[in-house]
Every structure is written in C-alpha cells, then in structure tokens.
C-alpha cells in the first residue's frame, strides 16, 4: 500500500480550491477548503497502522536523476506525528478562521495561503530527498510571508513578514549549503542514506561546517536565540495564522529538522555545546521577556520562543530519553499553545484589544472561554493533571541525569528551573491579568462570548491537554514510541508516562518553580520597575536600520558601477578582463621557447616597424580623424601583407579587399561626423587609459608568445588529409569553408545578410545634417565626377568582373573563393558609384541588393537541402570530374553552388551598406525618405 504522494498532492490541489469560493457563504467556503486536507488526513490515517508496526514507507519518482533530485516521500513514525499535527491543527484552524476573519476580508485568499503553507509543511516532514525537503522548506518561508502580511495595509504586518522572510530565508540558504555538503560527503541526497551513513558524516572533515550550516537553518526557523527576534514581529499576522505557525508548524520545522538529522549529526561534543546552550539561552531569554509583554500575543510569542528553546535543549543533551521527552513536549506544546493563541484571538475579537493593561476581569463576561484559556495556561505553566506537567517533569529529569559539564553539570537543572519559574510567572499573568484583577478599562467593545463553533477548536485542544495530562500512557504512548523510533532510527529506550513518579528531584524542581513563579508574579511590580530602567529596544527598528544600511551600501556600490556611461562600463569590463586573463598567467612560470623560433628577416622586420609606426600615428593623431583613418588603413595593409608573408594567401586577399571597403565606408561616415575630436579627456584619464591599454597589450602579447612557442596539437590533419579526396579541392581553407564547416559558413553569411539589412534600416530613417563645406570652411569640389576617373573606372569594370569570376571559379583549388570574389566585385561596383554617381548606376544597373542577399542565402540553403534528395545529411557535398572537348578536364562540385550563394550574399551585404550610405550624400536622399 503506497500512494504517499497523494497526501501532499491533495493539499497542493487544495491550495487552489479556496480561490474559486470567493463570494460564496463563509461556512461553505471553509467547508470546501477543509475537504481536501481532510481527505489527506484520512489517507494518512490509512497508512498509520503500518507505521505503528515500525515500517518506513518510502516512495520515489525520478525527476532530475543527474543532479540527485528525485521526488521521494518517506513516512515513518516521526513524520507521521508531524503530519498528524499539521493536518489536525490545520483543520481546526480552518474552522476557527471562518469565525475570526471579518466578512469583508478575502477569505478565499487567506485559505489559499493557509493550505499552501500546510502543503509546504507536509512536504518538509514527508520528504525523503534532501533537495526536495529544501524546496518545501523555502516554500514555508514564502507562504508564511504571505500569511504574516495578510493584512498588508498594516505597516507592521509588512515589516514583520519581511523580517521573517529575510531571517528564515537566509537560514534556508545555509541549509541548502549544508545539504549539498552532506551529499558531497556521502554521495547521495537520500535521507535514508544520510541516516545510514551517520559515521561517515561525523568522521568527515566537513562535519563542523555541515553541522553549523544545518543548525543555522534550524535555529533561524525555530526562532532560537539570537535569531528569535523575528517571531514576536510575526505576531502582526491574523491570530489563526499565529496559532498555526507558532504552535504546530513553522517554528516546529526547525525542531523537526534537528530531530530528523539527530541520528546523523548528534552524539558529538560540538552538537551538545551548540544545541544545548542555544536552547538554554533561548529558554531563559524567552521566559524572562514574556513576563514583560503587555500584548497578549507578545506574551505568547516569547513563551513560544522559550518552549522551543526547551525542546532544542532536550535534543542537545545527546540522550535518547531526552529525545523522547522532546517529542512529547512537541505534542504538548502544540496543543496548549494552539489553544492559547486561539483563546487570545477570541479575546481580541470580542473585546477589540490585546493589551493586558486594559483587559481585566473578563471572567465575568466570557466564563466559557476563560475556563478553556485558564486550563491551557496552567498546562503551559506545568501544573499537575495537565500535559505540560508531564513533559516538564521529563525535561527536569533529563537535565538532572546529564553530566556533560562535569562538575558544573548542576548549572543546567538550576537554569532549567529558573526558566520554568518564569514560565509559571507569565502563565499566571496571562490568567490573572486577563480574567481577574478588577474590571476592563476602556475596551473598544463590550466583551461577550464568541460564536459557538469558534470555541470548538479550543475545546478540542484543551480536552486533549486534559486527557494527555491525566492518562498519558493510555493515549499517546503508541504514537510517542513510533515517533521516537522514527527520530532515533533505532531502539526506543524505556520511558514511563505517568503522573506520579514518587518524591524525587524533578518533582521538587516543579514545586520550586511553581512557588517561585507565584512569588515573582506577586512581586511583579518591582520587576517591572527594574525592567523599565532599560532603554526600550525595538528589534524591528534595529533590523530595519541594518537592512537600510545594507540597501544604502548596495546603492552606493550600484551608483559607482552603474553610472549610465558606456565609456565607464567598457573600462570596468576591460579591467575585469585584465584580471581574468592575467591571473592564470601568474602560474604560467615558463614562457621561454619550447619550440625553436623562426629567424627574423629584414622584410618582416620592416613591416613590423611600419605597422608599429602607423599604429602610433593613429593613436597620437586620433583627434584628427582623417589622419587616424589613414594610419589605420596603413595598419590594415601591412596586416594583409603579414598574412601573405606567413603563407596565407586567402587571408591576404580577403584582408586587402575588406580594407578597401572599410576605408571607403569610414570615409563616407566621416563626411557626416565631425572631422576633429575635441580634447576633453583630463590628463589623469589619459594616463589611466594608457596604463590599462598597455597592460592589456602586454597580456595579449604574452599569451600569444606563450601560445606560439608551445608544441602545436592541431585537429587540422584531418582536413589536410581529406581536402582532396573528400572535398575535391586542393585549397584546404576554401574546402573547410564550403564543405567541412559549410554549416558554419552558412550561419556566417546569414549573419552578414542580417547585419546588412539592419544597417539599411538604420540608414533609411537617419536624418543627418549634410555639411556643404569641409571643416575649414572650404566648399566641396564642384567637379563631383571627374572625367578621368569616370572613364577609367568604366573601362575597369569588365576587367574587374572577369578577375572576380576567375577568383571565384578557381577558389576550390587555388587561393580565392566566394568571399574574396564577392568583395572584389563589390569594390568594382563601388568604384562605379564613386566615379559616376548614384543616378548613373541606377539607370544602368538597378540592382536590388536586398534581393541579392536573399537569393544568395537561398542558393546556399537549397544547395544544402539538395543533399536530402540523395538521402544525405544537410550540406553534404558532391563532386566529380568531367572532360569536354576544347575545355578539357574540369571539376564540378556542389560546393561551387554553395560558394555562389556566399558570393552573392557578400556582394549584396557590402553594397547594401555602402551604396545606401553613399546615397545620403546625393539628391537620392529625398527619395529614400519618401520610401521610408
């Protein structure tokens, strides 16, 4: 019998149900909301018998197995206990909230949040996979944020919710880190593996870190000192939320986690010190502070903190019996605290106030509620015949038997008694101040009993307190045993749940606590006066202040980085790249040659000197833009010569052709841009930029040198071996482009085409001022198209086209190919534009360059697709040799067709850019604006 996943799944669906009940009568809304969780509870109970027999039910579904993430549920006694608490108390809260919320409030939204939270909690306690557990853990933080801030019109609700989210969310991140470390240590995210490999974890070097991270997660969630401050501020939530979150669920998630990992992490000294003392501090701080809270819910909040401390303290003692006592107190605390919160909610609801200085003598007005609340409060105080007494006795007994602190072991029971004393005092205050002690003062409403069914959940819980207190062994020992077995993952020690253990130390401690508590409460005025001397501290303000400082710090940093200046961004980017590229070089100790250097010859040296000079000229005269452009073009020419020198004729040709096109483009652009750059960089900036660029250049040179002097392992041998036999060409570079890596080239020309079209669109809608003179005020030469140039260029065109056709056709076997031929053709046509003007060209050759790009891409694509007809993959090439009379033997290759596509696209893109930019200087401009 499995199908565990239905339990959380039903509540997940249930979280959406209330959204559809908006506008329906409130009781119907509550009933519909309660339906699916109730079914969940039934399912859970169906599984209960197996669990009581000691079975651990586990169910798995694969999700992302590669990172160890699967959906896996686990139900053992420990999980069963928590699931029962979550579902049972959750259902009572649904009933209670129906009466608590006012008619105008959005009940559907409230219930949706509540059930979502319920799902998250169920997910935590039922998870077998750690990552999944963490996911639900975060979900509780988020859904509790929504619940706490339900009254979002109140500033304190928003602030309280944000604080809770920040603190528990931060803990959640620590928890995730802890889980990842655990998985790294034992190699699995399965809880079963974690529990089975406890020794592996404890012996590993990561143990301390894992423990700290997981405790951080648990302590933030369970509001342990010093993270306890968020809990009182979460009281801004509607009371049903407080009753649910702070009795049975949210804060118990941390406790659950401690218990869940108890077998894996406990039993060490570190665990004892960290957990016990955190618990003890929390117990004392909570109990002491609770006494001074005038707000009813504030008192309960601090009391919750104190009781959580007590449970944590018990878990820290490294004793199995103490763990059993902790579980028992979890049950007891859930029952009496939930009922107390609900009673406080009733009082708030019916009187309009929660201030104990106003609320007095309510016994007369609401005796029924009062008696319920008094019983619950007495249970909290640990008075006999109530469940709080029994777990408190167990707690005392455990503190007495431990001797972990050697000769100082007595301090723990003494401090525990002190904590219990204050617990008695604040419980008495709750009872006496609210229900007796004179008459109500200035209450907004006249108090009266609440609706019948609003009290029902409180009655059920208080009845439980009584039953558990009088006949604990009879009611709860089965559940307690199975839960303890689940927690300890082993044999459960003998424990005795009975009211009377004879006259012993724990009983004496209880008597001391009760009488001292009564004494303190009787003399409370003095204590109040003493406490009043301290300056009031508001954790909310402190928290907000720290948060604000953090935000300010971030803003300052943000303002530094995010200045809105591109110049600044590029500087930051460059500096980062210097660091990223430079750091690995530090560990590269050896840049000296591991391969023989080629000798330097005079020709190359001359080229290098010229290149250096040209670069320096470009930089030094960069403010005279024309000179800079000339400098850059000289650099480009020498680079193309360098390619030729180092046996790369294809590159040399390409570079040369591109150089021509680039220079024409930049000159055209310069026509519209200022001819000079103003001097505006302050000297400091010039020096800084020089430094950065010199470092950058130095790094680059180092990397290049290191790269070139190391033995070369290239993958090119394959291309060299197969160029002729597989690709049918001897020009390996061209064969790579159109055949081996044809798909890359195909993408490449597509990008080229897109860039051309993008530029065309930019040019179309450009409105530029056209200067009628040069920068010195001289008018342009009226002879726009010199006859000489015009004549020569026209004669040159067929020649140039012939050359480009030749370059194109021979490309597969000799330097050349579609790219270079395309550029040569483009240059030839641009020359016509320059020499004869746009109008001339338009009359004679109205080429549509967009169509040219399109057809080029189409040809290339179709060539690629063509291979599908022959059942081959995209762009498979074919070639064969033919022999014709006169022509002789020649080769035909499908790659040639592909190269034609490249050729056309290159011409189209280049001319689309240049011709259209050129048109801007002519009367054609007006027509372009019309076309737009």
């Amino acid at each position: 019998m499995t199908a565990l996943f239905w339990i959380p799944l039903l509540t997940t669906i249930g979280a959406f149900v209330p959204l559809f009940t908006r506008g329906k009568p409130r009781s119907l809304c509550a009933a519909i909301t309660a339906f699916l969780p109730a079914v969940s509870l039934l399912l859970l109970l169906l599984h209960a018998p197996a669990v009581f027999e000691g079975e651990t039910l586990i169910e798995r579904f694969q999700w992302v197995p590669s990172i160890g993430l699967e959906i896996a549920f686990r139900l053992d006694g420990y999980a069963l206990l928590f699931s029962l608490l979550i579902l049972c108390i959750g259902l009572l809260i649904i009933l209670y909230a129906r009466y608590y919320l006012a008619a105008h409030e959005d009940m559907g939204r409230f219930y949706a949040y509540l059930v979502l939270f319920m799902t998250a909690m169920l997910g935590i306690v039922l998870s077998e996979n750690l990552l999944q557990l963490w996911l639900f853990w975060e979900l509780t933080s988020i859904s509790s944020f929504l619940l706490i801030s339900f009254w979002s019109h109140k500033s304190e609700a928003r602030k309280g919710a944000r604080m809770a989210l920040t603190v528990t969310g931060m803990g959640g991140l620590a928890l995730l880190a802890g889980f990842v470390l655990i998985a790294k240590t034992i190699g699995s995210y399965d809880l079963s593996d974690v529990l089975a490999n406890a020794d592996l974890i404890k012996e590993s070097g990561n143990y301390t870190t894992i423990l700290l991270l997981i405790l951080l997660g648990a302590f933030t969630k369970s509001a342990q000192f010093p993270f306890h401050f968020w809990l009182p501020h979460a009281m801004a939530a509607p009371t049903p939320v407080s009753a649910y979150l702070h009795s049975a669920t949210m804060v118990k998630a941390g406790i659950f986690l401690l218990g869940r990992f108890y077998p894996a992490l406990s039993g060490t000294e570190l665990w004892f010190y960290l957990v016990t003392f955190t618990g003890l501090a929390t117990l004392l701080v909570g109990a002491y502070m609770a006494l001074f809270k005038h707000d009813l819910k504030g008192l309960l909040a601090y009391s919750t903190i104190s009781h959580l401390g007590l449970i944590v303290l018990l878990l820290g003692l490294n004793s199995d019996l103490a763990a059993v006592a902790a579980i028992f107190h979890i049950i007891n605390h859930a029952t009496f605290k939930a009922s107390l919160f609900m009673a406080a909610g009733i009082i708030d609801h019916e009187t309009g106030s929660r201030d104990m200085r106003q609320l007095n003598g309510l016994w007369k007005y609401m005796p029924h509620t009062a008696s319920l609340a008094i019983v619950a409060a007495l249970s909290m105080a640990g008075v006999p015949l109530l469940n709080g007494f029994i777990s408190k006795e167990m707690f005392f007994a455990e503190t007495v038997v431990q001797n972990s602190l050697g000769a100082l072991s007595w301090t723990i029971p003494v401090l525990a008694t002190v904590g219990a004393t204050f617990s008695v005092a604040y419980s008495l205050r709750f009872i006496h101040d609210v229900f007796f002690n004179g008459e109500p003062r200035n209450l907004p409403k006249t108090p009266h009993e609440p609706p019948r069914y609003m009290k029902l959940p409180v009655e059920i819980l208080v009845a439980l307190c009584l039953i558990l207190g009088i006949a604990p062994a009879w009611v709860v020992s089965g559940l307690l045993t199975s839960a303890s077995a689940g927690l300890l993952q082993g044999a459960v020690p003998e424990f005795s749940l009975s009211l009377w253990h004879g006259l012993n130390m724990p009983l004496l401690m209880s008597i001391i606590a009760l009488s001292a508590g009564a004494f303190i409460y009787y003399n409370r005025e003095r204590l109040f006066a003493f406490q009043a001397q301290f300056p009031p501290r508001d954790a909310k303000l402190e928290f907000e202040r720290i948060l604000q400082q953090l935000i300010n710090g971030c803003n300052t940093l943000y303002a530094r980085l995010e200045t809105g200046s591109l110049q600044h961004y590029i500087l930051l980017l460059l500096m980062l790249s210097v660091v990223v590229a430079g750091l690995p070089l530090l560990s590269l100790t050896d840049t000296t040659e591991q391969q023989a250097n080629l000798p330097i010859d005079n020709l190359t040296l001359t080229g290098a000197v010229l290149l250096t000079l040209a670069s320096v000229v470009t930089v030094v005269w960069h403010r005279s833009r024309m000179i800079a452009l000339i400098g850059a073009s000289v650099v480009g020419l020498i680079v193309s010569l360098l390619f030729a020198r180092f046996s790369a004729p294809d590159l040399a040709l390409t570079q040369l052709a591109v150089e021509v096109v680039t220079v024409i483009l930049l000159m055209l652009a310069l026509f519209f841009l200022p001819q000079k750059t103003p001097k505006e960089s302050p000297p400091a900036r010039v020096v800084r930029d020089m430094g950065i660029s010199a470092i950058f250049g130095g790094l680059m040179a180092t990397i290049v040198y290191a790269m070139m002097t190391r033995p070369l392992e290239s993958i090119s041998d394959y291309f060299i071996a197969n160029a002729k036999t597989g690709g049918g060409g001897t020009n390996i570079v061209n064969v790579i482009l159109v055949d081996f890596r044809g798909f890359d080239t195909w993408g490449e020309i597509t990008v080229l085409g897109i860039a051309g079209l993008g530029i065309y669109k930019l040019i179309l809608s450009m409105r530029l001022y056209m200067p009628s003179t040069d920068s010195n005020g001289r008018p342009w030469n009226p002879d726009v198209h010199p006859v000489m140039l015009s004549t020569i260029s026209q004669a040159l065109l067929p020649l140039a086209l012939l050359v480009s056709a030749y370059i194109f056709l021979r490309g597969h076997n000799l330097p050349g190919g579609g790219f270079i031929a395309g550029l040569v053709t483009a240059v030839a046509i641009i020359l016509q534009y320059i020499a004869n003007g746009v109008q001339f060209m338009k009359e004679r050759a109205g080429i549509n360059y967009q169509a040219l790009i399109g057809s080029g891409l189409l040809i290339a694509t179709l060539t690629g697709l063509g291979s599908w007809l022959f059942g081959r993959p995209f762009l498979t090439s074919w070639f064969d040799y033919f022999s014709w009379p006169l022509v002789g033997k020649f080769e035909l290759a499908s790659a040639l067709l592909f190269d034609l596509g490249v050729y056309l696209t290159v011409i189209g893109a280049t001319l689309l850019i240049l011709a259209n930019l050129g048109k801007l200087t002519t009367p054609e401009r007006a027509q372009m604006e019309e076309e737009r």
């Binding site: 200046s565 591109l566 790369a648 590159l651 591109v658 652009a669 070139m708 390996i732 860039a755």
Partner: protein, 121 residues
C-alpha cells in the same frame, strides 16, 4: 619571429584598447578596427607561423594550419559587418542625439552622480 608577431599583436591591442576607451564614437570605431586586426592575427597565430609554406595542397612543402585561416577569413568579413554596424550606429546616434559622444550626451563638469533607491515598504 614569434617574438615579433607577439609584439605586433601587443602594439595593436594597446592602441586599439586606448582608442576604444575614448569618449567619441569615431575614435572608438577606429580602435575597434585595430583591435579587430589584433584578434585576427591572434587567431591566425594559434596555428603557428609558417614561412614560404604551401598555399594549396602540394607535395614537398610545409602546409600551414588551414583551420585558423578559415576562421580568420570569415572573421575578417564579419568584422567588416561589425565595424559597419558600429559606425552607422554612431552616425545614427549623432543624428538622433545631436552629439557623437559614446554616452549619448556630452560630459558634464564632474560631480558625484548619486542615485538613491530607497526600499519602500
């Protein structure tokens, strides 16, 4: 020779980066061109330097690594498209914004531009 090529690439990078850091668009474009040369040479150099090698498959001559050459060939063409795009964008920016500063506005006299985003609750 390797040292010389490394030096050339270093010089080109230095000059390119310096110009890229300028405030006006045209020097930045020229700087990008220089950087483009440097990067192309860099990729080319990764295949090692071969003097008087075979331009095409031929017996008896050392064949230079063709793969970086193929990469650089397309890089040169794409580089042109990029420079063209950058310069047209620069022109367009000048047309639309009225100045040719890379930030789209002329630099003001230095003052601390402090933006505050106050967390609102």
């Amino acid at each position: 020779m390797e040292m010389l090529v490394a030096f050339i690439i270093g010089v080109l990078t230095t000059c390119g980066v310096f110009l890229v850091l300028r405030g006006r668009t045209f020097p930045v474009v020229v700087g990008l061109t220089l950087l483009g040369y440097a990067v192309n040479l860099f990729i080319f150099a990764s295949g090692g330097l071969v003097l008087d090698g075979a331009a095409v498959l031929k017996q008896g001559l050392e064949i230079p690594d063709p793969l970086p050459q193929a990469l650089v060939l397309t890089a040169i063409v794409i580089g042109f498209a990029m420079i063209a795009f950058a310069v047209i964008l620069a022109m367009r920016a000048r047309a639309d914004l009225g100045n040719d500063h890379v930030d789209g506005q002329l630099p003001e006299p230095p003052k601390n531009p402090r933006r505050t985003v106050v967390g609102k609750l």
